[in-house]
C-alpha cells in the first residue's frame, strides 16, 4: 500500500514517510484513522494534501512528529526519514531537536493554537532560544524580524501583545512566523488558511510563495481547497479514509485524474488551470453523495467502493494498493477510468 512515488522534482528527498498507521482507542471502539500513508518530499517542493474532513490528513502529520496524545492515539507503524534518521524512532531529546528546528508546523486553528497567557513575542522567541541558543534579547530582536517578514506592521510593539489582541489573520501569520523561526527544512502547514477570510487567505498564500522562493524550504500543505493546491503545489496527494488514493504531479492530477474519488472531487470544479492566486478557481471540496467511510475496522476492501460508480466485485474483496498508472502518477484503484474497464493489474504491477 505504501508504495513510493517517483521523484517528480529534481532534488534531494528531504522527507520520506512510509506506512504510517494510527488508530484511536475511544469509548466507542477503535478508530482506524490512518491506514498506511506514505509520501516523499523533495527539497523546495510543495506537496499539496487534499481529502475530505476526517480522511486522516492531520493525524498523519501529527503521528510523524509524535504530537498525538497517547492514549487515545496509538501509532502502530510508520517510518519517516528526515536528514538520514527515522524521526518516528527517535528518543525524546533527539525528537525535540527535530521539532521546530528541522520540521516546522503551522496548525489548523490559529484561534486556539497560541498560548493565551503568554505574549506573542515570548512564543516566537521560544524556539529560537531552545534550538539556536539565542539570548533573550537576540531572540526578541529576531522575533520582531520574523513578524515583519510575515507582514505584521509595527512588529516591535506587537511582540508585547497577547494573542487575543491579534486578529485571526494576524494570529495565523504569527503561527507561521513561529514555525519559520528556526528556518526548518520542512514546513508542515495544516489548513493554514481555512479559518481566514478570502483576502487574508490570498495574502498568506502570497507570503508562502515568497518565503518558499527566499528560503527554499519544502512544504507539506494540507487543505480542503483544490484551487489553492492548483495554484501552489508541485505534487498532490489525495487522501480518503486514512489512505492515499492518488499521488501525482499537479498538472497530471488536474488534467488526467485516475481515481474515481479524485474525479468526483474535480468533477464539479470549474477551470482550475493554475490561476495566479486561485481567486476565481477557489472552491471548497464539493460534497460527494454517500457517507464518508466508517473507520471502525482496518480497510479490507476499497473504502471508496460504496460511493463509487465504477465499483465491481474485486473492489469489495480487495483493497487496491497504489498502482503506477503513468510516470510519477499512482492511483489506488482496480478500475482504469481512462480505458473504462477494470485495470489489468498484472501488466502494470504495483508501483
Amino acid at each position: 500500500m505504501a508504495a513510493r512515488g517517483a521523484p517528480a522534482v529534481d532534488g534531494r528527498c528531504v522527507l520520506d514517510v512510509e506506512d504510517v498507521r494510527t488508530r484511536f482507542h475511544t469509548a466507542d471502539g477503535v478508530v482506524h484513522a490512518v491506514n498506511g500513508v506514505g509520501f516523499r518530499l523533495h527539497e523546495g517542493e510543495l506537496l499539496g494534501v487534499v481529502g475530505e474532513s476526517g480522511s486522516g490528513k492531520s493525524v498523519t502529520m501529527l503521528s510523524m512528529l509524535g504530537l498525538l496524545p497517547t492514549p487515545p492515539a496509538e501509532v502502530v507503524s510508520g517510518r519517516a526519514r528526515f536528514d538520514g534518521v527515522d524521526i518516528m524512532r527517535l528518543g525524546r531529546d533527539a525528537l525535540r531537536q527535530v521539532r521546530g528546528a528541522g520540521v516546522g508546523f503551522v496548525f489548523q486553528d490559529p484561534m486556539t493554537s497560541l498560548n493565551p497567557v503568554l505574549t506573542v513575542g515570548y512564543q516566537i522567541a521560544e524556539p529560537l532560544r531552545a534550538h539556536l541558543g539565542f539570548s533573550k534579547a537576540e531572540a526578541w530582536r529576531r522575533a520582531a524580524e520574523l513578524l515583519d517578514l510575515v507582514g505584521i506592521p509595527s512588529p516591535a510593539s506587537r511582540l508585547r501583545e497577547y494573542p487575543h489582541q491579534f486578529s485571526g489573520g494576524m494570529r495565523q501569520r504569527a503561527m507561521i512566523a513561529l514555525a519559520l523561526a528556526c528556518e526548518p527544512k520542512v514546513l508542515v502547514a495544516d489548513e493554514p488558511t481555512t479559518a481566514l477570510d478570502v483576502t487574508v487567505q490570498a495574502q498568506i498564500l502570497d507570503l508562502v510563495r515568497k518565503l518558499r522562493r527566499e528560503l527554499g524550504m519544502a512544504i507539506v500543505w494540507i487543505t480542503h481547497d483544490l484551487g489553492v493546491v492548483a495554484g501552489l503545489a508541485d505534487r498532490v496527494m489525495v487522501m480518503y479514509g486514512g489512505l492515499v488514493v492518488e499521488r501525482a504531479d499537479v498538472e497530471a492530477l488536474y488534467l488526467r485524474p485516475r481515481h474515481p474519488y479524485t474525479r468526483a472531487l474535480l468533477g464539479t470544479l470549474p477551470s482550475v488551470t493554475g490561476s495566479g492566486n486561485g481567486q476565481e478557481a477557489r472552491k471548497r471540496l464539493p460534497s460527494i453523495s454517500g457517507q464518508p467511510p466508517s473507520l471502525t475496522t482496518a480497510p479490507a476492501a476499497c473504502p471508496f467502493a460504496p460511493r463509487c460508480g465504477h465499483a465491481f466485485a474485486r473492489c469489495w474483496r480487495e483493497n487496491p494498493p497504489l498502482l503506477k498508472v503513468a510516470g510519477g502518477h499512482e492511483a489506488a484503484c482496480w478500475f482504469d477510468v481512462e480505458a473504462g474497464a477494470p485495470r489489468r493489474q498484472r501488466e502494470n504491477g504495483p508501483a
Partner: protein, 337 residues
C-alpha cells in the same frame, strides 16, 4: 484596575451592611439571656439592672446602630491609635463591643487569640498548598499512573475522613504510642532560643499536619483537574511542536494557564484561616479563634459571636475581591474597567 477595585469596594459597603443586619437580627432573635447563667438567688430587679447596664433595654434599631458605630468607627480608631500612638478624640470614653462573659472588649480577645490561629491554621494552609501543587501537577502529567492512582486514593481519604479522626489517630500514634510529640498545644509557650523553637515546632507538627493533609487533599485534586483541562489543548501541542523542553511545556505553558483557577481558589480559601479550625483546635487544645467562637456560642456571648462572624463576612467579601483582582492579573484576556 484602580477604578474597578474602588467600584467593587463601594459595592461591598451595602453588601456588608446587609450581612451585618441579618447577623445582628438573627442573633438578637435567638432566645438568650446574659443573666441566664447567674444563680437563682439573684432577683429579677437585679437582673433587669444588669440588662440595662448592657444596653439591652434599648430598642433593636438603637442597639444595631450603636453596634455598627462601635464596629466601624470606634474599634478602627482604637487600632489606629494603638499603631500610631496618637490620640484621636476621646479614646477612653469611646464605647467598645464588650463580651458578655468576660466584660473585656471583643477586639482585645480576638487579638489575643489570633497568633495561635495564624500559626496553626495559617501554617497548615501554606503547607497544604506547598504539598498540593506539585502533587496535582505531577498527577495530571502522569494521569492514571500508579502515582496518580495512589494520589486519588489518598486525597479521597483526606477529604472524606474528618480531622477529628485523623487528629486522634495522630495523637494515638505520635503522643501515646511513640511518645514523640505533645498532644496538647501550649499557647503560653514563647520562642526565645533554639530549644524553645524546637518545642514550638514539635507542638505545631501534629495540628499542622492534620489540617495540611485535609487542605492538600482537596487542592491537589483541583490542581490536577486544572492541569488536565489544559494539557490537551492546542496551544500545548504548538509548544511541543516548537521543540520546547517538556519541563517548560508543563511548567510554563500549562501551569501558567492552570494556575488561574487555582490561585482564585486559594485566595477564596484564605478567610477560612481566620475562622480557625474549630475541630482541630479543640482536639489539640489550641486556644485559637475557632475555640473562642465555640466557647462564645456555648455561653451565648452574643456580642462576641456577632463580631466574630461579621469579621468573617468582611474577610470573605474582601478575598472575593482579591481573587477577582488576581484573576485579572493572571489572565491577560480579562480587562477590568
Amino acid at each position: 484596575m484602580i477604578r474597578y477595585i474602588t467600584r467593587r469596594l463601594l459595592f461591598a459597603v451595602p453588601t456588608l451592611l446587609a450581612i451585618s443586619f441579618v447577623l445582628f437580627a438573627l442573633l438578637d432573635l435567638a432566645p438568650s439571656d446574659p443573666t441566664g447563667q447567674l444563680p437563682l438567688t439573684i432577683g429579677p430587679e437585679v437582673r433587669a439592672q444588669i440588662r440595662e447596664s448592657l444596653g439591652l433595654d434599648q430598642p433593636f434599631a438603637v442597639r444595631y446602630v450603636k453596634w455598627l458605630e462601635q464596629f466601624f468607627v470606634n474599634e478602627p480608631l482604637n487600632v489606629v491609635e494603638k499603631i500610631t500612638g496618637l490620640e484621636i478624640g476621646d479614646s477612653s470614653g469611646r464605647l467598645r463591643v464588650r463580651s458578655w462573659a468576660t466584660r473585656s472588649p471583643v477586639v482585645d480577645l480576638i487579638v489575643e487569640r489570633l497568633p495561635q490561629t495564624l500559626w496553626v491554621v495559617g501554617l497548615s494552609y501554606v503547607v497544604g498548598i506547598l504539598i498540593a501543587l506539585p502533587i496535582g501537577v505531577f498527577s495530571a502529567y502522569k494521569q492514571y499512573s500508579w502515582f496518580d492512582q495512589i494520589g486519588a486514593f489518598v486525597s479521597m481519604v483526606g477529604f472524606s475522613v474528618p480531622t477529628f479522626f485523623t487528629g486522634l489517630l495522630a495523637i494515638l500514634l505520635f503522643s501515646v504510642t511513640l511518645n514523640w510529640l505533645p498532644s496538647i498545644y501550649d499557647t503560653t509557650h514563647e520562642v526565645t532560643d533554639l530549644g524553645s523553637l524546637w518545642t514550638q515546632l514539635k507542638q505545631l507538627f501534629m495540628p499542622v499536619l492534620v489540617l495540611a493533609f485535609y487542605n492538600a487533599a482537596q487542592l491537589s485534586r483541583f490542581m490536577r483537574s486544572a492541569m488536565l483541562d489544559n494539557l490537551n489543548l492546542d496551544y500545548v501541542r504548538t509548544a511541543r511542536a516548537k521543540g520546547v523542553r517538556e519541563r517548560a511545556v508543563l511548567l510554563v505553558h500549562v501551569l501558567r494557564n492552570s494556575m488561574i483557577p487555582v490561585v482564585t481558589m486559594i485566595a477564596l480559601g484564605v478567610p477560612t484561616i481566620f475562622g480557625g479550625a474549630i475541630i482541630t483546635e479543640q482536639i489539640f487544645r489550641v486556644n485559637g479563634l475557632g475555640q473562642l467562637l465555640i466557647v462564645a456560642i456555648q455561653g451565648a456571648d452574643i456580642p462576641l459571636v456577632q463580631t466574630l462572624t461579621f469579621i468573617f463576612a468582611v474577610l470573605i467579601v474582601l478575598f472575593n475581591l482579591v481573587a477577582d483582582v488576581l484573576y485579572g492579573l493572571l489572565d491577560p484576556r480579562i480587562r477590568y474597567d
